[in-house]
């Protein structure tokens, strides 16, 4: 099958879907390659993420990645949350197909966006985000097929 059981579970029953009206930070990431978009809202207390919600427009792996990422981040300190990578999300999902790894990058970027938004609102310097282009480029050949 294309996706693992955990991916399918998070895709079918995504955790933490929705918006937080009075969020402390909001991050948005878009995938320039496929046009997908993910939005993450966080609530922070004592440097800990106490609530998190997401909305995602994208493929099954983007939705599952968002859901898994919110679970991984919930309750963590800001710094711990920052250090959760897309590969950690993918691993927690029991892997993603190579051509779908970039969808998990979306989750990492949206969380980084939300954290930096929070830091800005606190008057802190935003942290520097690294680029994931290597990951997104690993499948250069054509796969598109429609009968």
């Amino acid at each position: 099958m294309l996706y693992s059981e955990i991916v399918m579970d998070h895709f079918q029953n995504p955790r933490n879907v929705g918006e937080i009206k009075d969020a402390d930070g909001v991050g948005e990431a878009g995938n320039p390659r496929c046009g997908d978009i993910m939005k993450i809202y966080i609530k922070v207390e004592n440097d800990h993420i106490v609530d998190i919600k997401f909305k995602t427009f994208g493929c099954a792996s983007a939705i599952a990645s968002s859901s898994m990422a919110t679970e991984l981040v919930m309750g963590k300190t800001i710094e711990e949350a920052w250090n959760i990578t897309n590969s950690a999300v993918a691993k927690a999902l029991d892997g993603l197909p190579p051509i779908k790894m970039h969808c998990s990058v979306l989750a990492e970027e949206a969380i980084h966006g939300a954290i930096n938004d929070y830091r800005r609102r606190q008057g802190l310097e935003p942290w520097e985000d690294k680029s994931h282009d290597e990951l997104v480029d690993e499948h250069s050949h054509h796969f598109h097929h429609q009968g």
Binding site: C34, K55, F57, G58, C59, F143, H144
Partner: protein, 387 residues
């Protein structure tokens, strides 16, 4: 649970009466048609009979019919064959932006070898203009290749008019009729077609067998060289069982073409109407009415990504297809949907439902019901969607 297969444009099952006829040729009647003994010669007859069935359906003569491994090989043969055969006459090929990849990637390959390819655009329903073809033809044009009906949006092209034009101009005309043959009566003579591709698994025949029609008198380099099969024009030990299956399948499809047309058209239009009625902001892609294959529905449901839609439908045992970028390894949305002017967002939320012999009114109702629920739920979790 109900299972609804609505992806007949991707492939179809082998019909039971087709499979039944194929069976002896795997085991007892396994002879190589090129062999001189009875077991071989009988199969030569069997291949001949299948060839006649295909010829009959296309109004061709049997010696204009060549068996191949599928629509893809036939398309490759047409483009590369003409390009190589006539390279001293000209290096210009005209095709469209909405062809199947078998044509497009063959064309791109030829472009890499120095050929000059014109990709004609289409209108918003996906139709090629005969006038555009006329204007594109130059002294150097050796081939025009326009598909009979599109696999994604079902738009039917003005094949007879393009054929007449090409014949007048003395340019060869190829059409990929893979999606059309089970739905539209084809007459290669009346339509002035020089080369035509078919694939058996699209009309309840086996995968791995196809047809290339080559009009008598058309010079065409071989594509697959080797033994003397297919009158020396296409080598390989004949896939006898597959060819038998193709023959029965095409005869069978032609026999029910008009009854299926009315039945499927009614189901199709009901499905479209219901989707429009039940799902806000749904948009039909391609032509309505007679300009569209009777079995094709393609809609954009913005706010939901196509792959997500397919996976959700699969949970209800509904099989469908999409032109979304996410479902393709290349991460490019369907070139067909782009060519008819859809936005990325619209292509992203596209859904193709293609009906077939097994499709019933209950299937249609079931799909609409499930689809409406899925779309609502997924739109609600989309950041792009505000209700």
């Amino acid at each position: 649970m109900r299972q609804v297969y609505m992806d007949h444009a991707a492939t179809t099952p082998v019909a039971s009466e087709v499979l039944k006829e194929m069976m002896p040729y795997f085991t007892e009647s396994f002879g190589n048609p090129s062999s001189l003994y009875t077991l071989g010669q009988q199969n030569k007859e069997v291949v001949r009979a299948a060839r006649e069935k295909v010829a009959e359906v296309l109004n061709a003569s049997p010696d204009e019919i060549y068996f191949t491994s599928g629509g893809t090989e036939s398309d490759n043969w047409a483009l590369k064959g003409v390009a190589f055969t006539y390279r001293n006459k000209g290096n210009h090929i005209i095709t469209t932006k909405i062809e199947h990849h078998a044509v497009l990637h063959s064309a791109e390959y030829l472009a890499g070898l120095g050929y000059d390819i014109t990709y004609l655009g289409v209108d918003e329903e996906g139709r090629v203009s005969v006038d555009d073809v006329r204007k594109a033809i130059t002294e150097k044009t050796v081939l025009v290749s326009v598909m009979f009906a599109n696999n994604e949006i079902g738009t039917i092209q003005p094949i007879a008019e393009i054929g007449r034009l090409c014949r007048e101009k003395g340019v060869l005309f190829h059409t990929d009729a893979v999606q059309a043959v089970a739905h539209i009566p084809i007459d290669v003579k009346a339509m002035d077609i020089d080369l035509l591709s078919l694939s058996a698994h699209k009309f309840y025949g086996p995968k791995g067998t196809g047809v290339m029609y080559i009009r008598k008198g058309v010079k065409l380099d071989n594509f697959i060289h080797g033994g003397g099969q297919e009158k020396g024009r296409r080598a390989t030990t004949e896939n006898v069982a597959g060819i038998v299956g193709l023959g029965i399948a095409i005869e069978r499809a032609a026999g029910k073409i008009s009854s299926e047309k009315s039945r499927l058209t009614a189901l199709r239009d009901g499905l479209i109407e219901e989707i429009m009625a039940r799902i806000p902001y749904a948009k039909l892609n391609g032509a309505a009415g007679d300009g569209r294959l009777p079995n094709n529905v393609n809609v954009s449901l913005i706010g939901v990504e196509g792959e997500t839609l397919l996976m959700d439908l699969d949970m209800f045992d509904i099989a469908a297809s999409t032109g979304s970028a996410c479902s393709s390894g290349s991460l490019d949305p369907s070139h067909v949907l782009m060519a008819i002017g859809l936005t990325h967002e619209q292509a992203h939320g596209s859904l193709r439902l293609t009906l077939g012999e097994s499709t019933t009114e209950e299937d249609v109702a079931y799909v609409v019901e499930k689809l409406a629920g899925i779309v609502e739920r997924r739109r609600n979790m989309s950041p792009l969607w505000e209700d």
